[in-house]
Symmetry: D3
C-alpha cells in the first residue's frame, strides 16, 4: 500500500528482480514514509513479441547498425 | 461488467479456479444485482519470485520455524 | 495474497462497495483457505463514457424499448 | 502515450499480434493525432482456464450444438 | 473477447473516445475475426502529474522552444 | 521500458509524486541499466473507500487506540 506492478522484458534473473524489489521498496519508503512491509511489488515479464512501440513488435525491430 | 482481475500465487488447479470464479461471481450478483453473464473474471498466476512484500521476494522468504 | 482489481460502473455507494468487499473476501477464503487479511481488493469506478462494448460507449447505448 | 494493454485468448501467432499492433496503432494515430512512436501496446495471453464469464471458465464451456 | 485497457492523457472528449473505441474495435475484428460485441474497451484518463517518463512528470516537462 | 503502475492512497501532492517518480526511476536504472527515458511510471490514486484489506474498506477501519 503502495502496490507496484512492474512490466519489463523477460529475461531478468530472480537475483535481478530481488535487487530491483529491494531498491524500489527503499525508494517508496524514503519518499512516502511508512514501513517496507506496506510495499507490494508484482513483476510481469513481457516477451518481445508481446510489446509493440510505434506499431512494431520489439521482436521484429532491427537493432541499429553500429558505426 | 464488473470485470475482476485476480492475481494469486501460481499453483492453483483449474478446479480451484473454477470454484473461485463461481464463488466470486455469486458474490457480485448477490451484492450488485444483475446477471452472472455480466461478470468477467480473469486470473493471473504470479510466481513467488515475481511478488515481493517488504522488499523481499516470496521465493526467498524463510518460512517461520515451528515451535 | 490474492489481490483483486474490480472495475465496475461508477455510482455504487461506499456501503455497496463495503458489502462487495466483504463478500468477495469471504469467497476467496472459502475456496483458497488462508486468512481474510491476505486478501486485498481495489475498486475502480468506470464512467459509462469510458467503457465500450461492440465499439459503442455505454453512455450512448440506447436502452431497449419496453414491450 | 497512449498505452494499450490487450488481453486475448492464448493461441494467436506473433504474426497476428504484429498485424493487430499495427492496426491498433494506426487507429490511435488516426483518431488522436500524434505519431506512432507514442503508442505502446502490451499483449497478455490468457488461457481459457484463466477467464470466466458468468461464473464458468471458458475451458469448460460446452460449445453450442449446431442446429 | 479481447479486452483493451487504454491509458491516455486526460482531456479527450467523449466524442473522441467514441471514435477511438469504434476504430479500435474495427481493428480487432479486422485482424482477429469474431464480432464487435466480443470487444471490450476501458479507457483510463491519466493526469499529466500522474505520468512520468525519464523520472520527470509530464506536468513539469518544459515544452521545446520553437526555433 | 520497464513500465510501472503505482497504486497509492489518494492525498499525495504532485511534489511527492515527482520525488517518487525520480526515486523509482533511479532505482530501475541502477539495477537494470539502460537510460531513464526508458522508464515510464503511471500513478493511480486510490480512495480509502476503494481499497479493502481483510474484507474491510480502509475508510471504515478504526485506527488503533493509543496506549
Amino acid at each position: 500500500m503502495p502496490t507496484l506492478h512492474v512490466e519489463l522484458f523477460e529475461g531478468r534473473t530472480p537475483e535481478t528482480k530481488a535487487a530491483l524489489a529491494d531498491a524500489l521498496t527503499r525508494a517508496c519508503v524514503s519518499v512516502l514514509g511508512g514501513t517496507p512491509d506496506a510495499v507490494d511489488i508484482i513483476f510481469r515479464d513481457v516477451a518481445r513479441h508481446d510489446w509493440a512501440t510505434g506499431g512494431v513488435l520489439w521482436s521484429t525491430k532491427t537493432p541499429p547498425t553500429p558505426g
